[in-house]
C-alpha cells in the first residue's frame, strides 16, 4: 500500500497545529476584549430618547434633586422613572408651546405613557436593588457617573459581574457618608480606605457574604 502522507508533511502538520492553537487564542483574546469593551457594552454612548430630556439642564441648571423624579430610589429595588404627571408639574406652565415637548403633552392628554429607551439594563437573571446601596452610602455618582452633567444619559459602567464584584470585594474604596450620596461635588478624603473601613463598620455592611453567588443570582 502506498503511503498517504509524505514524510515531509510531518513538519507542516506540527506547524499547523501550533498555528491553530495560536489562532484560537488570538480570536479568544480579541472577543474577550470586545466583550468587555465600551463598544460592546455601550459605555459612554449617549442614548437617543423620544424627547431630548437633559439632566444637565434640569439638575445642574435648575437645581432639581434626583428624588423629585426618581422617587422610589431610596425605598425600592427600582429607582423609578417619572410619570408624565411629574413633567407636567412644571411644563403645564413652562415652555407650553414648545414643539419639543409635544409628546409630553400628548401623553398627558391621552394617558398613554411616554416610552423612554432604557440605558441600563441588567440581564433578567441578575438581581439588583437600589435601596440597599443608597442606604449604605453608595452614591448615584459612583455607579452612574456625573449624570447631572449629561445632556442625554449614557452608561458610565459596564454593569458586568466583574464590575459589581470590584466593589463588593472592597466597598471601603467607594463608600461615603449617606448624607453625601446626591452630592456630585464630593471629594473623598485622603485616607479613603481607613475612612471607608470605619463607615463600612458603622453602616454594618456585611462584606463577608457580598460575593456569594446567591446574593445576585437568586
Amino acid at each position: 500500500m502506498a503511503q498517504i502522507f509524505h514524510p515531509s508533511m510531518r513538519v507542516i502538520s506540527r506547524a499547523s497545529i501550533i498555528v491553530v492553537f495560536l489562532l484560537v487564542g488570538f480570536v479568544g483574546w480579541v472577543s474577550w476584549d470586545m466583550y468587555r469593551s465600551g463598544y460592546f457594552t455601550d459605555v459612554n454612548v449617549p442614548k437617543e430618547q423620544p424627547i431630548p430630556f437633559s439632566h444637565e439642564h434640569h439638575v445642574n441648571g435648575l437645581g432639581i434633586s434626583c428624588g423629585y423624579c426618581h422617587t422610589s430610589v431610596e425605598k425600592s429595588a427600582f429607582a423609578g422613572i417619572p410619570p408624565t404627571h411629574t413633567c407636567m408639574t412644571c411644563h403645564s406652565q413652562i415652555w407650553t408651546g414648545a414643539p419639543m415637548l409635544e409628546p409630553v403633552r400628548a401623553s398627558y392628554r391621552t394617558q398613554r405613557p411616554l416610552e423612554w429607551n432604557r440605558v441600563h439594563d441588567l440581564p433578567d437573571f441578575a438581581y439588583f436593588n437600589h435601596s440597599i446601596h443608597v442606604k449604605k452610602g453608595m452614591s448615584c455618582q459612583v455607579c452612574h457617573g456625573n449624570v447631572n452633567m449629561m445632556p442625554l444619559v449614557w452608561k458610565q459602567s459596564t454593569l458586568q459581574m466583574a464590575w459589581c464584584l470590584d466593589c463588593h470585594r472592597q466597598p471601603e474604596k467607594f463608600i461615603r457618608p449617606v448624607e453625601e450620596i446626591y452630592n456630585f461635588e464630593y471629594r473623598p478624603p485622603q485616607d479613603q480606605i481607613a475612612f471607608g473601613k470605619e463607615l463600612v463598620k458603622k453602616y454594618d455592611v456585611k462584606t463577608k457574604q457580598l460575593t456569594d453567588c446567591s446574593i445576585c443570582h437568586r
Binding site: 500500500m1 502506498a2 498517504i4 435648575l62 437645581g63 432639581i64 434633586s65 428624588g67 423629585y68 422617587t71 429595588a77 427600582f78 423609578g80 422613572i81 410619570p83 404627571h85 411629574t86 407636567m88 408639574t89 412644571c90 403645564s92 406652565q93 413652562i94 394617558q111 398613554r112 405613557p113 416610552e115 440581564p123 433578567d124 437573571f125
Partner: protein, 204 residues
C-alpha cells in the same frame, strides 16, 4: 475506487458529520442561553403588549385599595376631621420627622417656593407663576390640614404632589413649613443661649 480511497472517505464522513452535529448543538445551546437575558419576567414599567396601552404597570381600578394601603384614618389621609380641615397632626412630631420634612421640602417644594418658602424658587425665576409667600398672616393662620390638602389635591396652577410624596412625608413637610413660618418671626430672646450665639455668629 481503491481501498484507501474508501477508507479516507469513510473516515471523513463519519467524523465530519459528528463534529458538525456537535458544533450545531453547541451553537444552539449558547444562543439558547441568551433567552435568560430577557426572560418573561417583567421589570418595573417594562413594555408589554398584553394590555392595549402597552404598559405593564397597571393603574388600580377605581374604588379598589391596594393591599396594605388602606387608611382608616381621615386625619392622616385627608387632613380633615369630620369634613373640616384640622389643625392637629396625626402623629407626634419628633426630631426625625422634622429632619425628614426638611429633606422632602427641599426636594419637592424649594424649586418653586424657595428655601425659605417665600416663593422665589428657581422655576419661578424661569417663568412659573409666583406662589404666595408662606410668611403672610393669612397663610400663618391656615390650619395644618390646609397645607396637607394643597399637596394632596393641588391648588390652582400647582399640581397635586400625591403621586410622588406619600402621606407620612406630606405631614412631615407640613411640620417643616410650620417651623419655617416660626423661624421668620421668632424673637431672638426666646432662643436658648447656645442657639443665640450660633445665630449671631451666622449673622456676622
Amino acid at each position: 475506487m481503491t481501498k484507501t480511497d474508501r477508507l479516507v472517505k469513510d473516515c471523513f464522513n463519519r467524523h465530519a458529520l459528528r463534529s458538525a452535529l456537535a458544533m450545531f448543538i453547541c451553537i444552539g445551546l449558547i444562543t439558547g442561553c441568551n433567552d435568560m437575558y430577557d426572560s418573561s419576567r417583567i421589570k418595573p414599567l417594562e413594555k408589554n403588549s398584553f394590555f392595549t396601552d402597552g404598559s405593564s404597570a397597571r393603574i388600580a381600578p377605581e374604588g379598589t385599595v391596594a393591599r396594605g394601603r388602606a387608611v382608616n384614618d381621615d386625619l392622616l389621609s385627608t387632613g380633615r376631621v369630620n369634613g373640616r380641615l384640622a389643625d392637629t397632626f396625626p402623629f407626634t412630631i419628633t426630631d426625625s420627622v422634622m429632619a425628614r420634612g426638611r429633606d422632602r421640602f427641599t426636594t419637592f417644594c424649594t424649586p418653586c417656593h424657595g428655601r425659605l418658602g417665600d416663593g422665589g424658587g428657581m422655576i419661578v425665576q424661569r417663568g412659573f407663576p409666583r406662589p404666595n409667600s408662606f410668611h403672610t398672616d393669612s397663610l400663618r393662620e391656615r390650619p395644618a390640614g390646609y397645607f396637607f390638602d394643597v399637596m394632596t389635591n393641588g391648588f390652582g396652577r400647582m399640581y397635586s404632589y400625591a403621586p410622588s410624596v406619600p402621606v407620612e412625608d406630606r405631614w412631615a413637610i407640613v411640620a417643616y413649613i410650620r417651623a419655617l413660618q416660626l423661624s421668620q418671626r421668632a424673637e431672638a430672646s426666646t432662643l436658648s443661649n447656645e442657639d443665640r450665639t450660633k445665630l449671631f455668629r451666622l449673622a456676622q
